[in-house]
Symmetry: C5
Subunit: 390 residues, 5 copies
């Protein structure tokens, strides 16, 4: 997970003040997308005043078929621009303050005339995962989105509007909001799969004994990433549940089945991340037991070598002594006997080690499975019983 | 657990689109089973249009006694076939999308005119466990099931219908749905027993010290399998509870006791899998302590050998020195005294090790149990008391 | 915990079928006990038809004072006998199926005309604990119990009826049911105390360093036993709570205080087993730390011996070299100087080890407690304050 | 925690029977305290019949101002005495049975005419903590307390009544009950502080490396003590909550704020014990890591000594060989060169160890803290902003 | 976390008595701040009687526009002063007792005429964190705050009132209360960031292998700090939730959105501290695995050196023996052959170690990532599909 520069909180600041983070991106105009069942009008990089004027025009003179508007701002550095939009569309100041504060938990805030839904897009920048905070406002026939950075995750929704496929052009702003949320959630899956792939690769390394002492660092970083993603996903279930269970303004009953489906995806997502977490914990365990095993191997080698040679060296030491009277030294076969003695000594030791099993370094645990009632057999029993009890 | 090829999610896809997984199996026609209290008509491998026509015929002209229909599709590769069935029977597009998406959590989705219940069949293919996603739709007098792969788990239900044993032929489509769910749940038990057997075999290996360094891998894989099965079982309890507690369409009150019984089985199943989980964790602990014990043994051997021979070698070293004046070397019994000294030295060491208890490698922990009030004695006390307090 | 032979589940079997386990015990007749406030009639080992006839007689012609009947069956091998009883007393087939299935969780099933309560008796057979499944049916003035094995746990209840002590003869079938449940629950306590005694004995062994490598196996088995007992106790609280909270058929308000007391015992039981569990976990920790400590000791011995003798041996090695010119060898006090040097060397080493504290193997951690405000002092302060603030 | 002799439960005993524990203390009479707003009458060590007569007198002829009675019994060995009190005051037999059973969980039992509240006093006897079970009965204008042992914890309440300070003499029996409960709860704090002091002393020992292998035993015993205290505290919150939330007989609304305050103390207590628990777990972790660290040190010493001297000894061994032709032996500076070679060899080794950092045994981890926005600075930023945005 | 001197609880003390801690700070007068929409009057260090008189004046003769009063006391040593304030403003004695007791959990106590809200300010004194207990009373148009120590955290609120920025001067005493709570909560964030920085610095040390045996102590202290902060934060969520959900006296509906925002901050805070906790646990794991790794390295060095030299020394020992007949000694190339033999022996050993991989001490785990479906590709697939299914 790429680290974002910390955004300092200034305790005591009055509420509702928009203070962009120092590292915030500058927006290049705003993107306005207007569509109805039979027409689409895309105007990217518009000046903010033009966009607001266009919105006002549509709002004051509703067309038939009804038009849906989507105003998107990518980059949160321009406090004036944000303030202007907030005031023109009467978005709540507390919500506008949260738009630029990059630590929002996913949730649904109901400000009566509009909903405020902060989410986190998980996107992949040059091999590192990074969060991109997305704030969604749902007004009557208008969706306003603020993105921390320019990203292409929402392009899929634009594509669908452009091609008019599915229901999206037939339905209202609430369906647009649903489509955005659904796309954001589905976008987590490829990232999780990547984390999973990484862990599987690491698992293989560890099991094949090719992992080194930096593995623990890998696992540690993975766990921290998983933890961060988990914190972003955890509140999603309740947030989406609130969307389709509560009677919220601007959310029609028609999109409830879609939101329920969306919540199912969020639950699935949470299941997957929990799975990752347990995988990471299990990896840790295997890695640590691998360390112990390795220590065992090292100690075995040391012990075998030492235990064989220390007694031999002692024998050699004895006959290296310079006592005047050491009868063995004069024997004709003294040297040979001594060597033979050493050889026997070594052989006995090796035999002992073999017996204890210390010399097979490649042993495998073999488990013989008990025979089990196979499924076909169970079916046969059942059929037999059925015939007898007709 | 055999690994299924991953099914990629394409973020931004419109909802309700049927996109079969690349590795999905092709269906060989559909199976239609029509039965009433006194007749059974099995037509496997039917063309989809014929099957739908047959269903329409029964629906439009209800017979007496009432007929129940069961349409089964094994293999989810044919998007056209699925779409045709979905449209003909007016199954909800979101449900049909989930039929081909292989990550569904067991649950009950109520689409007013019909119920959608995704489940996971746990089946055993050549010694590895594998999941087979089963989607059940319950309509008025019709059950539609979609299976990821051809499997024989539901054969037991077909058998019972064929032989007309028990209540199954007397009751409606909801009882058929119950029978299918019950069979799927009961089918988990043999698989869990197999996991349990494996763990018991492993436990014995570890306790008898015959486990090797791949044991940790075994345990790790078992834990992952248990984890996956657990995730499939965990939501079952609530799903079945919803079936018999909520007032759902097409589910009659008569089958509530059966569903409650079915839920009891699901709870039992969850208990068993939790048991497996704790067993696996405990295995891990014993295995790790075994490693420590083994290290202790190895180190003890090394220490005993080194500690006995290092001082002896030192003595030999001293009398191997070439000083001009070393009176002991000239003594008549010098050599013998030296050897005796060494022998004493070694004996003292061995005595010390015996005292510390390092030389018994086969010690057993013996625990003397305190005498306890036996049950008969308690009964006697009670009887005595009863006589006195009449 | 003695292992019961596994009872295979045959997936797909129709519900309500009585299939006794292969290892089930054969019943020796049935036991019928009839009592009222002033009479007791015990008829053990009766033929089933006679017993049913006797029950029918009492039911059709109620006597004054009202009679309570208790029908007990020990041994579940005879499917015909069970079926006959079930049909004669109109017990629900699903409940009768559960009577012979030995994996029931304790619970209360309400079948309107009767209650079904499966429990597990924990009894002690030749030093091993074993479960004995007990199924209780409560009808109007009749309690039917089915036991997996002949056991003497319920003898206490029979004794009380026989002696007519306490309220038991004055009250109805629901009080009999309560007495049975209460006896079953209280019977767990001696077994838990035995597990506790075992763990305390093991704790002492481990702390006194007399535990060997099989200790981990002991702890592991104890944990598994505790786990099994826990699973049998865990649902008791809710089950008994349901008995006295819900308005159940055949349960009068008069026995509610007794059931509440019974639930208190169940909660206490659960507390005790949780205590056992934490004790076992803690034992594991001490044992593992003992292993580490032992390794430390072993390594310390090795290091001390090696570190003292290796330099000495090196010195001896130097003066064992055969160089032509080695002036020290010719010195008069050369040998003595060399020995002195070695002695100094060893003394320095031993001094160093003493300094580091490696030579005291029997050190104790001494903790000096801070003086604390004693209770009497607190009372004095309070009294003083009271006098001043009158 | 001092161990109490186990109190055996006799399964099958009829309910409501008073069976004192074998080790129960004998009461020395009963203590009766009568007080009203303007008078106090203390009569300790009264005969039970006199006390009951006095209570009857007050109950039958209520005085003005109303009198409150407190009957206290210390020691539970005398079953007759307890039975007499129970019957005279119509206390429920099930509650009286629980008075002598020493395993009660703190709770509030409502028997309509009176409340039964078992608590555990934690008191300190000769440096060991011990539990003293206290049973409180609240009747109309009477509080009855039964204590397992004579204790001085309730003296504080007696003192307050005697001195008439605060509200205690103005209010009824429910306030007396509250005062007793409050005193019992507050009495836990000094004991917890003592456990905490002990752990802090142990922490310092462990961190300063002065802990020995009995530390694990200390921690283990502390954990068991904490566990027992925790089990006594855990249910207090709910019990007291029930007292002020439910409409209970004899409890007036006036004392609700006091009970809420009392519950706050109980929650605080639970927080403290949880804190202790985590402290103990953390101590365990440090201790175990200390063991690993020590092993590292020991091994480092061994490795350094061995690695330096083994090669040197080898060189000495070479020149101790007796080959006929070994030119170096005849060189003039052979011996000196050999010694120099050895010195270089050792120096290289020591240099290497220095490089790897194995020779500094006293290293400290130094962490340089990043500069942080100080509070004053934040205030300055805020002031600046306020000036600009007036 | 700087340790505060323990505040002893005297069990049995009557409720509602103000007993300041021995180490409590003496207040230097009280601070009174009166403001309305158009005027601010700050009077720090006022005598308590003057302040109470001023408050009485405002309360009896309400001005237009309405005035809000804020009375602040820093330092809790003066029991008389606190008692006087408590009685003059009719604050509840139980709340006043809690003001000086320094263990309050954050909560909201409703005393009908006023609210009592104890909080803990986390402030930084000379590099150590310390708690400063803050008690807030909310009356009709008056906020009373008591601080354990003089602190500058609330200066930010004073600044805002002085500059009249934002809504603070337009709104009532409840908004002042909200501003104080909000400032206290936001003040936790910089402290948490500091803990986080410390842990990141420690993480780098550990991963770079520069951590020493005192690291465990660091982590232990951090965990204890985190634990304490956690306990202070944990109840905040519910406390603030109670403020905006319940209908409380003196709290207007207008400030509900602000309180909800404040609760969001509290939840965020709790998330952050949980994050810290998991970070600390993970640090522990890496540190312990680092210890194991280090041991592995040490043992590898020892084993390599020993295993190479022990056989060589043995060979040298053989040819150092003094047997009369040892033919090799007389060979011309005997010495050279012997040295060659030793060299070969060493080379074989080194080769073996290379093969096993023990000689690369700097290995890195390299993981090759599988190629993944990039986001652009997914968009392309989607676009393609959209075109085909128009």
């Amino acid at each position: 997970m790429k680290k974002r520069p910390a955004q300092h909180i200034i305790p005591g600041m009055p509420p509702g003040i928009i203070i962009p983070s120092d590292s915030a991106q500058h927006p290049r105009g705003v993107d306005l997308l207007t569509y109805s069942a039979d027409a689409v009008d895309e105007r990217p990089g518009l000046a903010v005043d033009d966009a607001l004027a266009a919105i006002r025009a549509v709002t004051q003179a509703p067309a038939t078929p009804p038009q849906v508007l989507w105003l998107n701002v990518s980059g949160l550095a321009d406090a004036q621009l944000l303030k202007k939009i907030g005031e023109a569309l009467t978005l709540h100041p507390l919500a506008m303050e949260d738009v630029v504060s990059l630590r929002q938990r996913p949730r649904v805030d109901n400000y009566d005339s509009h909903l405020y839904i902060p989410l986190k897009i998980l996107q992949q920048d040059d091999n590192a995962l990074t969060f991109n905070q997305l704030s969604i406002f749902l007004l009557n026939n208008l969706v306003v989105t603020f993105q921390e950075q320019t990203g292409d995750v929402l392009d899929a929704v634009r594509l669908r509007i452009r091609h008019g496929s599915g229901r999206i052009r037939q339905m209202g702003a609430d369906y647009l909001m649903y489509s955005i949320i659904d796309t954001v959630i589905d976008n987590y899956f490829p990232c999780l799969e990547q984390i999973n792939d990484l862990m599987e690769a690491l698992e293989e390394k560890i099991i094949r004994n090719q992992a080194h002492k930096d593995s623990i660092e890998y696992i540690h970083r993975l766990k921290r990433d998983i933890q961060e993603v988990r914190r972003a996903i955890w509140p999603l279930r309740d947030a989406i549940g609130a969307l389709y269970r509560d009677e919220l303004p601007n959310v029609s009953k028609a999109i409830r089945p879609f939101l329920r489906d969306c919540q199912d995806h969020a639950i699935l997502l949470f299941d997957s991340i929990e799975n990752c977490r347990e995988f990471a914990n299990s990896l840790m365990d295997i890695y640590l037991s691998t360390l112990s095993n390795r220590m065992n191997e090292i100690m075995k080698v040391l012990t075998i070598i030492s235990t064989i040679f220390i007694p031999l060296t002692f024998i050699a030491g004895i006959y290296g002594m310079n006592f005047a009277t050491m009868p063995e030294l004069q024997w004709r076969w003294g040297y040979a006997t001594c060597l033979a003695l050493m050889a026997i000594c070594a052989a006995v030791m090796i035999g002992l080690f073999k017996h204890v099993g210390w010399l097979d370094f490649k042993q495998k645990t073999t488990i013989t499975r008990k025979k089990r009632l196979p499924h076909q057999h169970a079916i046969a029993i059942l059929e037999n019983w059925l015939k007898q009890n007709k």
